[in-house]
């Protein structure tokens, strides 16, 4: 029988990848892991491609047991992470033996934790991705008792008795500041907000419970559109900051519909979107204005750090004769 990862306590968890790329022309949102950086790092730490399927665990406690020996890495928001009661580090890979229980609890500061397994999972794909799409009705939240097919097993690489953590891979761990500072660049319709646009940077905004993978609603001293007239529906990027009505900002995230008819005041940067993927209801956010050049430089620096980590992992895994994961080709062209 094929090896599986058995979900004991599912909480709120899904199988994710980086998203369904190249389908926006057909009206499909990109979706995928909301904290892309943590998802990439979890995969890289356990020897996978950045875009391999992994678990996105949101807010609630989670536990699972593999039916074979596996190598696991857990990233994202700080949490209490144990294997059969023994504390394990986040942001480093660790071995889990067949039948041991991985517990993730007390998720704090942020709300999303990522769990990658060397070799990843056998999981259904639709339109080039395993990311759930609520409109297509594809993918679902995990349930207690689910069994996810494992593609690989990995003999234990730690000490059989003392279980001293073996790895010191120095993964790039993002800061989780309070309040959150989210970088944005000017949006294409900034001028429509006149003198009120500056309000975006003057005060804090509080994330409402009506926030999800489609977008985050935030209350505060919102800018007002001073221009009038209808905006023709057009494509809006992930990260668009809109003011639909009332006293709320709407910040679009990866599940957003590809077109909208509201003016775009600002656009959250690529690194800012990963941070925003960690922000939970009731938390406060402060926006920081950046130029496009600064935002691009920050994203490249973050991606380069992940590539450098990938090289260190490869070197260490080769030395330990850990079999690396087969490359999965993810189509990205439109």
């Amino acid at each position: 029988m094929a090896d599986t990862l058995n979900i004991l306590r599912a909480g709120m968890a899904t199988v994710q990848d980086l998203g369904r790329f190249g389908r926006s022309r057909y009206g499909l949102p990109v979706n995928g892991a909301l904290d892309q950086h943590s998802a990439r790092v979890a995969n890289v730490l356990c020897g996978n491609d950045e875009g391999a399927p992994l678990l996105e665990i949101t807010a609630l406690d989670f536990s699972c047991t593999p039916s074979t020996d596996v190598l696991v890495a857990v990233t994202g928001a700080p949490a209490d992470l144990t294997v059969d009661g023994v504390v394990r580090p986040q942001w480093e890979p660790f071995s889990v033996r067949s039948g041991e229980t991985i517990r993730i609890g007390g998720i704090r500061s942020g709300i999303r934790v990522y769990l990658g397994v060397l070799g990843s999972f056998n999981t259904p794909y639709l339109q080039g991705s395993c990311a759930p799409d609520t409109i297509l009705g594809f993918g679902r939240s995990l349930r207690d008792g689910d069994e996810l097919g494992l593609q690989r097993h990995c003999p234990p690489v730690d000490h059989p008795e003392y279980r001293i953590p073996l790895f010191r891979l120095r993964a790039p761990v993002p800061r989780l500041p309070t309040p959150w500072t989210i970088d944005v660049t000017d949006g294409p319709d900034l001028a429509e907000f006149g003198d009120t646009a500056d309000r975006l940077f003057r005060s804090e905004f509080t994330v409402s419970p009506q926030s999800n993978h489609i977008g985050l609603r935030m209350a505060g001293d919102v800018p007002r559109r001073v221009a009038t007239g209808e905006v023709l529906s057009r494509g809006v990027p992930v990260g668009a900051v809109e003011v639909p009505a009332g006293n709320e900002l709407l910040v679009l995230h990866r599940g957003r519909g590809v077109t909208a008819g509201y003016p775009v005041l600002a656009v959250v940067t690529a690194t800012g979107l990963s941070s925003l993927g960690q922000v939970g209801p009731g938390q406060t956010v402060r926006f920081r204005r950046r130029t496009v050049a600064e935002a691009v430089a920050a994203h490249r620096s973050q991606r380069n750090a992940v590539h450098a980590l990938q090289n260190r992992v490869r070197t260490v895994f080769d030395a330990l004769r850990i079999p690396s994961s087969p490359a999965r080709t993810v189509p990205v062209s439109p």
């Binding site: 009705g137 057009r234 691009v296």
Partner: protein
Amino acid sequence: MDSGTGVVDGADTARGSVVIVDCGDSAVVAKAVGMDAERAWRTVHALADAFGAVRLDGVHGLVPTYDSLLVEFDCADTDHDTVRRVLRHEADRLGEGPVTPPATRRFVVPVVYGGEFGPDLPVVADQLGLREREVVDLHSAADLTVRCLGAPAGAPMMDGPAFPRPVPRLSSPRTRVLPGSVAVAGRQAVICPMPSPGGWPLLGRTPLRVLEDLDADPLTAYRPGDTFRFVPITPEQWDDHAGRSLAVSHG
């Protein structure tokens, strides 16, 4: 690299121009300006085709709509300058000749209007100052052109029928609209392919299956430029069409 969204580059021609602006660190927008709506729409869709054919590394999304084209990319794998340069090049090439409309198909879509199939028909008739029969006649009187595909999932966004004025959205959106629902709002018309929330008034519902295979590439049988002709049927005729694919309903 451009330092902000204030940077606009445009090339004026006698027939309008394409203006390209940054839209954050991972997207640019090409907008057709100074031309009529039909030419603007043809221009952004032809530009999407031409730009897509280049298959630029790092580009992962193209959203052409009415007068704008959103290009999404990973700015670690490409950069704004490269994307802008290729867009500019392709836009200039389009500007040299007439933008020819692509070959189109015409889909014939049976619809049961009103009642439980189109619960908002009476309200819409009221708002337009028309009888329900007149709303149905106008909605099914002409071929409606698909302008772009939008949410939810491949929904064909069409020019609306020749109603006397725009149709207001529902004040409170439905949490679930059935697949095949035929709706209007503003001066637009749409068929909802998948069950989803929706704020557009519903006039009727087609028994046809709008999306044949969710894993198909392309996802939809129709594409921008194609036309839809709605044909009223009675509730008794629903079963004659139920489950038939929209993909084979062209003529």
